[in-house]
């Protein structure tokens, strides 16, 4: 068992190290120009050297992503609960949620940016619209998936709507909600980046996407890669965080979070 645990760390880390090594060798031995592909060491070095530019940009992007995610959680859960109360509310509201979801952010961005004077607010709206949908649909699905016999049992015991929601529907929907959150976390970051590209914000309040764009324009490839590396790390961190949260919240009972006995 311990051997498997050790290997499950060593294998991905080893493969990563080999990939970086290959990258390094291709650049140094293959005589590749820096503006085509910078060496890994140079990318890391640039990351530290340009931290005064990249650090604040990362902070802007992080703030945007997490604010959008938080708003999406509140809005998505609230709307899902509302829709679970009545079929008619669900029928009336669902089409709008779907329309917002299927419309690409890039297409939506110019409209929203020109109408909301503050760029950061406009970006927030765009990232929110994208992150909101998976949370809404997954939570709504979870609220509908309550075991019918348990529902009957709650009815028999005279549970009112609120108690049923709190003691039965919410716990039943939790695994579904967490799946929605994991998806939303990933695409909130993507949406934040895409929205910033599309909106073309600039200046002191700009995030990683703008810095990446700007570096590309100036042919500063090492900085492009450094910004890219930061985005990748952020994405992985969000994924790890939401996965850990899910595993922790379900640790006692859900099949996805408890080890199989064999």
């Amino acid at each position: 068992m311990r051997r498997t645990a050790l290997l499950s760390v060593l294998v991905p880390v080893g493969v990563l190290a080999l990939t970086v090594l290959a990258w390094h060798l291709v650049v140094t031995l293959g005589d590749v120009e820096t503006y085509d592909l910078p060496a890994p060491a140079l990318v890391v070095e640039t990351l530290f050297r340009d931290w005064s530019i990249l650090g604040p940009a990362l902070w802007v992007t992080l703030k945007l992503t997490f604010t959008a995610l938080a708003l999406a959680v509140v809005g998505g859960v609230a709307l899902a609960v509302l829709m679970a109360q009545s079929r008619w509310i669900a029928l009336a509201l669902y089409p709008y949620a779907v329309i917002l979801q299927v419309t690409p952010v890039v297409a939506l961005a110019p409209i929203i940016v020109t109408r909301i004077p503050d760029t950061q607010t406009a970006l927030l709206v765009l990232a929110f619209v994208v992150a909101f949908f998976p949370i809404l649909t997954n939570t709504a699905q979870g609220l509908r998936s309550v075991d019918h016999n348990l529902r009957d049992w709650f009815d028999l015991n005279g549970a009112g709507r609120l108690r049923r929601l709190w003691h039965l529907e919410a716990p039943s929907a939790l695994p579904y909600f967490l799946t929605g959150l994991r998806i939303a976390g990933g695409i909130a970051l993507i949406a934040a980046v895409v929205a910033e590209f599309a909106a073309g914000s600039s200046g002191a309040g700009s995030g990683l996407a703008f810095r990446l764009f700007e570096a590309q324009y100036r042919l500063n490839t090492p900085r492009v890669f450094a910004a890219l590396l930061l985005l990748a790390i952020t994405g992985v961190a969000i994924f790890a965080l939401t996965s850990l949260l899910s595993a922790w919240a379900l640790r006692n009972w859900h099949e996805s979070a408890v080890p199989r006995d064999r």
């Binding site: 009957d152 009815d155 028999l156 015991n157 003691h167």
Partner: protein, 263 residues
């Protein structure tokens, strides 16, 4: 029906010409007549799929008949009161997987606004009754099938119901535990004067526990035999007596006859 007019008038549960056809066209029940007087212990015995669980759901008001009438008590007010005092043990344990054993049992009281302190005491008492006091903090997934069923029984008993609907509650248990819970059930029935409607596949269990055994025909189910069981003071000696065995034989023959008639 052998139940006379006097019992009919005072019935706590009554089904008159009840039929149930499901949305997919399956005719589960047709022409079911039965009435249960307060304090009776009635067993429903019948082949698999004949509609026993369906009858329990109809009585609890969880499902409505396609034809005929299901009435509880003598008036709508009484029906509403009785319905609040139903203890239901489903054929499957139907526990909340996210809640501990104690929380599962306690939910029956919480939903009835019983104060927190009292909940703890009564949950402990109910769990002791089914022999699960040491598993109060376990989650359902950590229990065996029979243990889950016992939690479900404790959850029904903890609210001190007036009308108990039990759907094969002991089917997954070993004979010793089963006998012990049989005796506990009979003792509690005497003590609390419950009315019990009990579904079982075991002829011997039905004869041992009940004051009446109803035998059903295969689907579409109907009550085809209604047998009163004399109360001979249930005990191990009674279980071994020739009278008991003769009754069990008679019930068993009735069950065979019901199945042969349909075939």
């Amino acid at each position: 029906m052998t139940a006379g007019g006097a019992i009919r008038a005072a019935a706590i549960v009554r089904l008159t010409s009840v039929a149930k056809t499901f949305a997919n066209g399956v005719r589960a029940l047709d022409g079911v007549d039965l009435s249960i007087a307060p304090g009776e212990f009635v067993s429903l015995l019948g082949p698999s799929g004949c509609g026993k669980s369906t009858i329990l759901r109809l009585v609890a008001g969880l499902s409505s008949p396609s034809a005929g009438a299901v009435t509880l008590g003598g008036s709508p007010e009484e029906a509403a009161r009785i319905r609040r005092e139903i203890g239901f043990v489903f054929q499957e344990p139907t526990l909340m997987p996210w809640a501990t054993v104690a929380a599962n049992v306690g939910m029956a009281l919480k939903l009835r606004h019983v104060p927190h302190r009292e909940v703890q005491d009564r949950v402990a008492e109910a769990l002791a009754l089914v022999g699960l006091d040491s598993f109060a903090k376990a989650y359902p997934r950590q229990l065996s099938g029979g243990m889950k069923m016992r939690v479900s029984i404790a959850r029904a008993l903890v609210a001190r119901p007036k009308l108990l609907l039990l759907d094969e509650p002991f089917a997954a248990l070993d004979e010793i535990t089963r006998f012990r819970l049989n005796d506990d059930l009979v003792r509690l029935w005497h003590e609390f004067r419950w009315t019990v409607l009990f579904v079982t596949h075991s002829v011997f269990e039905s004869v041992y526990l009940s004051s009446r055994v109803l035998v059903m025909s295969p689907r579409p189910g109907r009550v085809v035999r209604d047998m009163a069981i004399p109360d001979a003071g249930r005990s191990e000696a009674w279980r071994m007596s020739p009278e008991y065995n003769a009754l069990a034989r008679e019930v068993s023959l009735a069950l065979h006859a019901a199945m042969a008639e349909a075939a």
